[in-house]
């Protein structure tokens, strides 16, 4: 293929020829010859007849967490003729950044030669992305000819939301189900904590016999344990456009997703059934379930959240009432910026739902990114927010979470506060 520069030279040669003849100037005619000579020499850089470069990637699919870095490794093998100048470009998604190496380079490739390209990509924003396909272009040194080759192979990258490991805080639903879990149920069942004593009954395990009590009463006595059960938890993540505060890299929706992923991980480890409802541009939901698969289902849905304005908190209420198990713990993750969300939470509490609100604080995010900080404005906003939170505290547990700090700390504060209130 001829590049546009070759046409510039041809055009220039023609103009010089015409002007040379019209003006009867030998200078213009010499320039025409010089241009034609240049074009003739440029023919040395014609693309190779056999232009065949095979591309292979080390990995087709990469899963990683938000903020992690990934190494992209590509290998090239020239099955065609010698290539003197090769431009290689591996397109990367918009929200990623090359932190080491290059995804765009110029090199040469001899016949049969292999070359490896490596670069490290930083993925600060969750979502599904495609790296590639690799674009290869032969380009001669004078930029007169080029030939393109496009590989079809690409790497899919799934950037999962960041997860905070919570070791000391456990969120437990008030209502438990009949299946085994980690929540003490205040009733006799299968568990590890001692609950009471009773007379031995045929069929009781020998290891459950309390020998000291048996010696005292002269009848065999068996230990009874407190049953440990699990409950159903539904995480509701609000991705409504109007509630998003912050930049692309730091915003309330990102904080909400991080909270949901961290809670899902912790709750599933406690053998609870966890479900998810995502409100945003589309309504997506995962029915409560157990285990690792469920965790990946939730994470997968969280990584696809797109902020939007169609589905609101009121829709979640309708959805939970009809399709989700009754007496589930509803964990609303919302920045509490929409009056309708606040009303929905209050309404659900009044209809005997067990509700907990985790609210990523938008003021803290705004404070961090704003250029013209105004302390009076901050005070007013904080005052308004405190009013909303106090209103909600009458109905549900509210966690006011500063996204710049660990979620576990905020949950710990609430747990301590609730414990104090119980003792009063």
């Amino acid at each position: 293929m001829w590049s546009r520069f070759s046409f510039y030279y041809i055009g220039f040669a023609i103009i010089a020829l015409i002007l040379g003849s019209l003006l009867r100037s030998w200078v213009f005619l010499i320039i025409a010859i010089a241009n034609i000579s240049f074009l003739a020499v440029a023919l040395l850089g014609l693309p190779p007849k056999k232009f065949d470069v095979k591309v292979s990637r080390k990995e087709d699919l990469i899963n990683l967490y938000e903020g992690d870095e990934v190494k992209i490794e590509i290998s090239l093998k020239n099955h065609g003729d010698d290539i003197q100048f090769l431009e290689i470009y591996d397109p990367i998604p918009e929200n990623t950044e090359v932190v080491e190496g290059n995804n765009h380079l110029f090199t040469d490739l001899k016949k049969g030669e292999k070359k490896a390209i490596e670069y490290t990509l930083s993925c600060p924003i969750r979502g599904e992305m495609i790296v590639g396909p690799l674009k290869i272009r032969y380009r001669d040194s004078l930029n007169m000819f080029f030939k393109n080759l496009k590989s079809k192979i690409h790497t899919d990258i799934r950037v999962l939301p960041e997860i905070e490991k919570m070791k000391n805080v456990k969120i437990r639903p008030s209502y438990t189900r009949n299946w085994l879990g980690n929540i003490p149920s205040n009733s006799i069942g299968i568990g590890t904590e001692f609950f009471s004593l009773r007379e031995y009954l045929p069929g009781d395990e020998l290891r459950k016999i309390n020998w000291k009590a048996t010696a005292r009463s002269s009848n065999p006595i068996t230990n009874e344990y407190e049953g440990e059960r699990s409950g159903d938890i539904v995480l509701v993540v609000e991705g409504f456009k109007g509630t998003s505060v912050g930049t692309l890299r730091k915003n309330t929706i990102k904080a909400s997703i991080k909270a949901a992923a961290s809670l899902a991980s912790s709750m599933l480890e406690d053998r609870n059934r966890v479900g998810l409802i995502v409100l945003g541009d589309y309504l997506n939901w995962v029915y409560p379930g157990y285990g690792r698969d469920q965790f990946y289902k939730i994470i997968d849905n969280l990584s696809k959240i797109e902020k939007g304005g169609f589905w609101k908190a009121t829709d979640a209420k309708w959805f939970i009432k009809r399709f989700f198990p009754k007496r589930s713990l509803i964990v609303f993750i919302t920045p509490l910026l929409e009056e309708k969300s606040i009303e929905t939470v209050m309404d659900m509490c009044m209809k005997e739902f067990d509700v907990m609100v985790i609210s990523p604080n938008p003021i803290e995010i705004e404070k961090e990114i704003t250029e013209d900080y105004n302390p009076t404005a901050e005070r007013i906003l904080k005052f308004e927010r405190n009013n909303i939170i106090n209103r909600l505290w009458r109905y549900a547990t509210v966690v006011d979470w500063n996204p710049n700090e660990p979620l576990e700390a905020a949950l710990n504060d609430i747990a301590r506060y609730k414990k104090r209130r119980r003792h009063l």
Partner: protein, 186 residues
């Protein structure tokens, strides 16, 4: 580093434009347009607009040639015209290469041996080809201007025909001797 390269290239462009303006100063009142064109090229380089730089170079070359269009013919003037023209062409090729490589991230420039190696190879290749083109152009011009068709003087269309004739012979020779053996080597 990238900024330094652009500044050096801008300085070279300005120098070439000033030299060519000095050459053309005594022949035409349009000599200053070459410097203006150089200014446009520098602007294009600094603002990273390839089309602005291309336009500026075209302006400089064209008005340099236009200014010296009635230069008296001799072997020395022929060499001056070809020399300055190829200086501009080299500059254009180097600027094009610079623009195409501007997208390549140069964070680890010092470490990126592949890129440095490519730059070295392409520079050598560019200068080899330009030198070859200069030799071919000089021989072609010489042949056509001193051909038995009495070109010098340009009285009639014979000059024009001689020019085409000389160039065609050169191209055919070039293709037969250099291009064809290379293409059918395999």
């Amino acid at each position: 580093m990238k900024q330094n390269r652009t500044i050096i290239l801008s300085f070279i462009t300005a120098s070439i434009c000033v030299i060519s303006s000095i050459i053309s100063m005594q022949y035409s009142i349009y000599w200053f347009i070459t410097i203006m064109g150089g200014g446009v090229v520098v602007l294009g380089l600094l603002l990273r607009y390839p089309s602005v730089a291309d336009g500026g170079l075209f302006l400089s070359i064209f008005f340099f040639i236009y200014a010296i269009r009635y230069l008296p013919f001799s072997v020395v003037t022929l060499m001056i015209v070809l020399g300055v023209f190829y200086l501009f062409v080299t500059l254009w090729v180097v600027i094009q290469r610079e623009f195409s490589m501007m997208n390549v991230k140069r964070k680890d420039e010092e470490k990126n041996e592949i890129l440095l190696e490519f730059e070295m190879k392409s520079t050598i290749n560019i200068f080899k080809k330009i030198t070859l083109a200069l030799v071919v152009a000089f021989t072609g011009s010489f042949l056509s201007l001193f051909s038995p068709l009495e070109v010098i003087g340009y009285k009639e269309w014979t000059g024009f025909l001689a020019l085409i004739f000389g160039t065609l012979i050169l191209i055919v020779l070039y293709i037969i001797v250099i291009v064809l053996p290379k293409m059918y080597k395999e």
